[in-house]
Point group: C2
Chain length 441, copies 2
């Protein structure tokens, strides 16, 4: 894509209402625009990143054996009355009446709706275990939406729901999601740790939240440096390995300030290993047994021939929030560097030649086409802005690799640079080879 | 995927509330379930088809130079007051109040919101022409939702918006979308024709609707057989070819019953060429100049240095509705056959061997793995239902190619069948070669 054609409204100044760096960066780089309080439009640059994150979330859900579907945004209030959550959910629920005065709501989460779908369509244990998920927009009417997409009202969430015959089965499904979550966050270039969590309005017996470590995070985190040494690639999806994995990740003391206990921390974590940092919640998983299946009568015929209430869990990832979390981690000193798995473009070509410098223009065009023909998604800066202004823009856009073209270079040579690293002088073919290893290996 | 693991609740009986065949088929084959009046959940089979249609729509938009973004589902009522449409839109608009009593609405279309985004971010003709689009759920509070996803309340729409400096530019953008639409419908295996249309609540000066010819369609269509001989591949995206293309497709008389005039029809279409059939509207395009940009003050600095109001058009495709339209065309005598571009699976493997027939099981498993390893999306029927019941299920699922395994076959031979065609006896390698040509050529 050529920058002159991309709809990318970059702002020179930091918008005064943006208090945290991801919010500032997303507005300045033209990733999003606020359309109403806490409700955002995703412009092409932001949309590309959002889609890449969504794809990684999807791939890891599929790999865990979860099946994708799609529930609507608007739900009937009746379902929530059945589960008993309608009155208790409070003002965060966006309640709606249609033209026939029927009570609807904009789904803030989907336990009720998925339980209804299960109840109406599954009758036998033979269809179990079953994990269903969808990636859909949700709405929570926050009293004070803030921090851009980090605490918006309309937000994109991946939510999965597991159905099992027994509690043991349900814990296995829980552990599969635990694993899928750690794999997902790792592929997004994030250090995420699980923390024992309160179950809140979802309810249930067992719950972990996944928190990305970031100095600018919303909550204080107390943990051990040792948890950072754990590698998810040392585990696999087998039941035995899953048990080991959950044990390894949860035997370390980790807590948010809400649950923090200094004595316990000192007892369980050696002084030298203690890590006090901040974090951003990006995922939350719940095992809640029959909390929904019982009042809503989601019953199946068991392998023993009895009618049993199905065992359930639910598992959420904040997809749009992850965009903000990744920026909080990777935007430093006004320079953004996207992890290569989610970068909006693979590589930037920045032509610093003067307006009439046809040699530079041809050089830029040549490598642009070479890379495009090799399936790279390339952003070519063909504008007439000053070099300083171009570099400033790319500091915001955050593409991790840059090819720089200037009038003083040899004709067959390009400057190639990974953001934050030393530049190299390479031929077009050398750059192609390098990028293939980086992205397609 | 193995059928025993797929969440695919097939219904034996035709649901009594489903009046048209696509609605019946989607419920029976477990593609969707109604979650509230006119609001559907897409189960895995339906979701797969929906996503494939979405992808083709997206590819043709991208090819036309449109840039994808994503606007939220919830909009502020203020914008609609600015354009003057808030009061007039009527009861079909789902109007909402949030906890702070602010007036919101669930977007039925996005002219206002995109005009606001354009106005706030584009100041110069240098950013033009610009076509932006998104694929997002919309809501229209139909008084009597019916026909399943064909006239639901929450529905998936692709809507594009073009911005140009001049009327000529706007017509060129319009023609680009005209072309992209015909390409899109052709790739979906549909015969779609453009009809001059009323502009309705969108407004404007020029409008075409795109109607898929289907005997079960909602409206009567009068046209000429000659329009079916036109081939979109004879045209390209250049301005000259676009003009020829629009002329070719619009010089034939085509009208719905609303606009039909018998005398005009007889005058313009020879008796032998007259085609009277039915159709389903799947797309609608509008050129409306400054209808929104004027009241909402979307002004840019023109190439002549003057402030001008931008020229706009909008372009919609009913993505979820297309699922129904494709079924209306391709589901006949209780047998579905998906076009290969949108089929939920590339090929079905139907094992007719008895429960303990290990030879059949191994044969099925062998070709299943061969095809999976070659990037095919395969559905293997590993259930223990009767052959008659299996065939009945696959008549509903509609995968266009079947591999049938039975105990009387030679060990290296498989029965291969395109739905509606003669069966062939082939080896696994021959089947692989055939499928590669069908799908990946």
């Amino acid at each position: 894509m050529k920058l002159s054609e991309l709809f990318l409204p970059i702002l020179k100044d930091i918008p005064s209402d943006a208090k945290i760096k991801s919010h500032q960066m997303m507005l300045r780089s033209g990733m999003v625009r606020q359309s109403a309080a806490g409700i955002y439009s995703w412009l092409p640059l932001g949309f590309k990143v959002l889609k890449k994150i969504e794809l990684i979330v999807r791939e890891e859900q599929d790999r865990a054996g979860a099946q994708e579907m799609l529930m609507p945004t608007i739900q009937s209030a009746d379902l929530w009355k059945e589960s008993g959550r309608y009155d208790g959910y409070g003002l965060e629920m966006l309640r709606i009446k249609d033209r026939q005065d029927r009570e609807l709501l904009y789904g803030p989460t989907n336990e009720e709706l998925i339980t209804q779908i299960f109840r109406d369509n599954v009758k036998s244990y033979k269809s179990l275990p079953l994990i269903l998920y969808h990636i859909q927009w949700k709405f929570r009417d926050e009293i004070r939406p803030r921090f851009g997409v980090m605490r918006g009202r309309e937000f994109l969430m991946k939510d999965s729901y597991s159905f099992d015959e027994t509690k043991e089965g349900a814990i296995l499904s829980y552990n599969k999601m635990f694993y899928a979550y750690l794999k997902t966050f790792e592929r997004l270039g994030l250090k995420a740790i699980p923390l024992v969590a309160d179950t809140g309005p979802i309810g249930g017996d067992l719950s972990h939240e996944f928190v990305v470590l970031a100095e600018t995070g919303e909550s204080q985190i107390y943990t051990s440096k040792k948890i950072l040494d754990l590698k998810i690639e040392n585990f696999d999806n087998s039941e035995q390995s899953l048990n080991k994995m959950v044990k390894a990740y949860t035997e370390t003391y980790s807590a948010t300030d809400e649950k923090f206990d200094q004595k316990e921390f000192d007892d369980l974590v050696k002084k030298d290993d203690q890590l006090i940092t901040r974090g951003i919640e990006v995922g939350h998983i719940f095992y809640f047994g029959d909390k929904y299946s019982k009042p809503m009568k989601a019953v199946v015929n068991s392998s023993l021939g009895k009618n049993i209430t199905v065992e359930m869990g639910s598992y959420g990832i904040g997809v749009s929030r992850l965009v903000g979390a990744i920026i909080e981690v990777n935007y430093n000193n006004n320079i953004m560097k996207w992890p290569k798995t989610v970068t909006p473009f693979h590589v930037a070509i920045i032509n610093l030649g003067k307006k009439n410098d046809e040699t530079c223009k041809n050089k830029a065009q040549k490598i642009y086409e070479l890379l495009k023909n090799n399936s790279f998604d390339v952003l070519l800066d063909d504008t007439e802005e000053s070099p300083a202004s171009k570099f400033k823009n790319f500091d915001l856009i955050g593409i991790p690799y840059q090819i720089i073209i200037g009038s003083k270079q040899e004709i067959e040579q390009y400057e190639f640079k990974e953001v934050g690293c030393e530049k190299e002088i390479l031929s077009a073919q050398e750059i192609l080879k390098k990028l293939k290893i980086i992205y397609f290996n």
